[in-house]
């Protein structure tokens, strides 16, 4: 394990991710008896992946998109419908749902290829908004979305994975979430990632240097949609119920706050944001109707005051922030523990 770590040349983002993984692996030791907290943690993981996929598209690849929940919903419904009506075994259903969502992502991406930023936001947002009446309509019911009641009794992941089995679900989803973030991490450090960043920073220059803008933009849509569709599918099998509720603007706003608080484009800020915001949201629950109105105010305040989010606070540009110091502490502890050569930066 240590050799692998050295080979991958972990940087601050990789280390942050691993630190989070370590903490998350241990949490159930304390909370496994509290169904409520376990459920919140599970939702943190699920929303974390949605936020991560969103940040990948918007913060990293620079494509303004508001369609993330559209992908989530399609993944959830696709897997729900495949397993419920076509008897497809759940793991296969989830995989297919991911692929279907990736396909939808690419289809939505096609009109966006030649569009300027704000237009892409509009098209993807319209896609999100259109899904609600579509799902609830007669047409939707005919396909089998269950209309306003939604899909019920969706089969769980496997035997023993009922919605009450929090600990198995937690670890499964932790694995899925980690893999998703790890995939994003690897992509950002690959040449494909370089293409995405080049297109974000200067599309004309990138194109003149041989980067195929259309192909790469569609890839972003496809990858992000796939990851979000998969986690949407997992969500469906976890809760057993799916309705147009998941397209509610309140949840949309909540995940957007995650992005903003974590730090857009600052990996893995989205994951950190997911935990903070989900718990904050639960803490504010007693306030019922005031909750969203407070969230809206928080979004505006955080964006204006802290545009780089929490990652910007932990790892500020140009000086040694708290994150860096903690990282050094960890590295020193490791080397002292194992007495080997220090982990390469």
């Amino acid at each position: 394990m240590l050799t692998k770590v050295r080979l991958m040349k972990l940087d601050r983002e990789g280390i942050t991710l691993l630190v989070m993984l370590a903490v998350l692996l241990l949490l159930p030791a304390y909370f496994h008896n509290d169904q409520y907290i376990m459920h919140i943690l599970i939702m943190c993981l699920i929303y974390g992946v949605v936020a991560g996929g969103w940040d990948f598209m918007m913060g990293y690849a620079g494509i303004f998109t508001f369609g993330q929940f559209g992908f989530f919903a399609i993944g959830a419904y696709a897997s729900g419908m495949l397993t419920l009506y076509a008897g497809v075994p759940t793991p296969l259903g989830i995989l297919l749902a991911g692929l279907i969502t990736a396909g939808v992502g690419i289809v939505i991406g096609l009109p966006c290829l030649r569009l300027r930023g704000a237009y892409i936001a509009l098209v993807t947002f319209a896609f999100h908004l259109i899904l609600v009446p579509l799902i609830n309509s007669d047409l939707g019911r005919a396909i089998g979305t269950g209309g306003t009641y939604g899909l019920l009794d969706i089969p769980p992941l496997a035997a023993g994975f009922s919605v009450a089995a929090k600990v198995p679900w937690y670890y499964t989803l932790l694995g899925v979430a980690f893999l998703s973030f790890f995939a994003i991490y690897r992509i950002t450090r690959s040449s494909i990632g370089l293409a995405f960043v080049s297109l974000r920073d200067s599309e004309p220059l990138a194109m003149s240097l041989g980067v195929d803008a259309y192909k790469h933009k569609l890839m972003v849509f496809g990858i992000s949609a796939f990851l979000t569709g998969v986690i949407g599918a997992f969500y469906a099998h976890y809760t057993g119920i799916v309705s147009a509720r998941i397209l509610g603007l309140d949840i949309f706003l909540m995940v957007m706050v995650m992005l903003v608080i974590g730090g857009m484009g600052r990996f893995p800020g989205a994951a950190i944001g997911a935990f903070i915001v989900t718990f904050l949201s639960e803490a504010l629950r007693p306030l019922e109707e005031y909750r969203l109105f407070i969230f809206g105010a928080i979004v505006v305040a955080v964006i204006v005051l802290l545009p780089e989010g929490l990652m910007g606070v932990l790892f500020p540009a140009g000086r040694v922030g708290p994150g860096e110091r903690f990282g050094r502490f960890i590295r020193q502890t490791f080397t002292r523990q194992l007495g080997k050569k220090s982990i390469e930066k």
Partner: protein
């Protein structure tokens, strides 16, 4: 041997005709200058050749038509360019900027690292590889743009007003680079400038554009004496 042939190319933006029925040829290995007052259509011409615009008419590069190809495909055919207002990947260091050119534009580069270093040292930026592009001064930005373009191993290089905004020393350095590019790398180069003096020094042939039309083409000595050119430039 003609490396580039532009045949009856026209580009309109609504009612504005930016380039009107333009035809000319560029010889392989020469430095070809394009001058003209602002708004003459020079940058539009570059955008047409590099696939950013798609006008009517035909453009033949290295014997094959490049009409309708998209910019990245034209890069792969062997045309590279720089931009009038420096375009760079501002969040990336110089080495990554050039790497994009090597990786996506270079054709079958065996050792990327070597190609990157070659390009960077050719323009004289060695030692600054890890400086983030946003922190560079104008001259270094232009050099980075050039290095990235050269990293795609082009046959034809289009430079859009490379000297504008540079100090006299920097301008001289850049011009020397242009000549080295032709001599050492064997590239054909088309340079847009609206300062005639610069072009007459380095170009083998010049073309003057005005309102999207070619008003004169030939060796600098002839062009600078041309009546119409003098009129258009009012002694520029």
């Amino acid at each position: 041997m003609k490396i580039l042939q532009v045949n009856n190319v026209t580009q309109c933006f609504g009612q504005l005709v930016a380039v009107k029925d333009l035809s000319f040829e560029v010889e392989k290995g020469e430095i070809f200058g394009i001058a003209g007052p602002n708004g003459a259509g020079k940058t539009t011409l570059f955008n047409l050749v590099t696939g950013f615009y798609r006008g009517s008419g035909d453009i033949i590069f290295d014997g094959r038509s490049i009409r309708g190809l998209r910019p990245h495909q034209i890069c792969h055919r062997g045309i590279a360019r720089t931009f009038q207002i420096p375009e760079l990947f501002l969040t990336l260091p110089i080495v990554e900027n050039v790497k994009v050119g090597v990786h996506f534009g270079g054709r079958g580069a065996h050792d990327e690292r070597e190609c990157i270093n070659e390009a960077i040292s050719f323009v004289g930026l060695q030692g600054k590889e890890n400086v983030i592009a946003a922190n560079l001064n104008l001259f270094d930005k232009k050099l980075t743009m050039l290095a990235a373009a050269l990293a795609t191993k082009p046959k034809l290089l289009l430079l859009d007003e490379p000297i504008s905004g540079l100090s006299p020393t920097e301008a001289r350095e850049y011009m020397t680079l242009i000549q080295r590019t032709k001599k050492e790398l064997g590239l054909t180069i088309i340079v847009i400038e609206h300062l005639m003096k610069v072009l007459t020094e380095i170009s083998q042939r010049l073309m003057i554009l005005h309102n999207g039309e070619k008003i004169c083409i030939g060796p600098p000595k002839e062009v600078t004496k041309d009546k119409r050119v003098i009129e258009v430039y009012l002694g520029g």
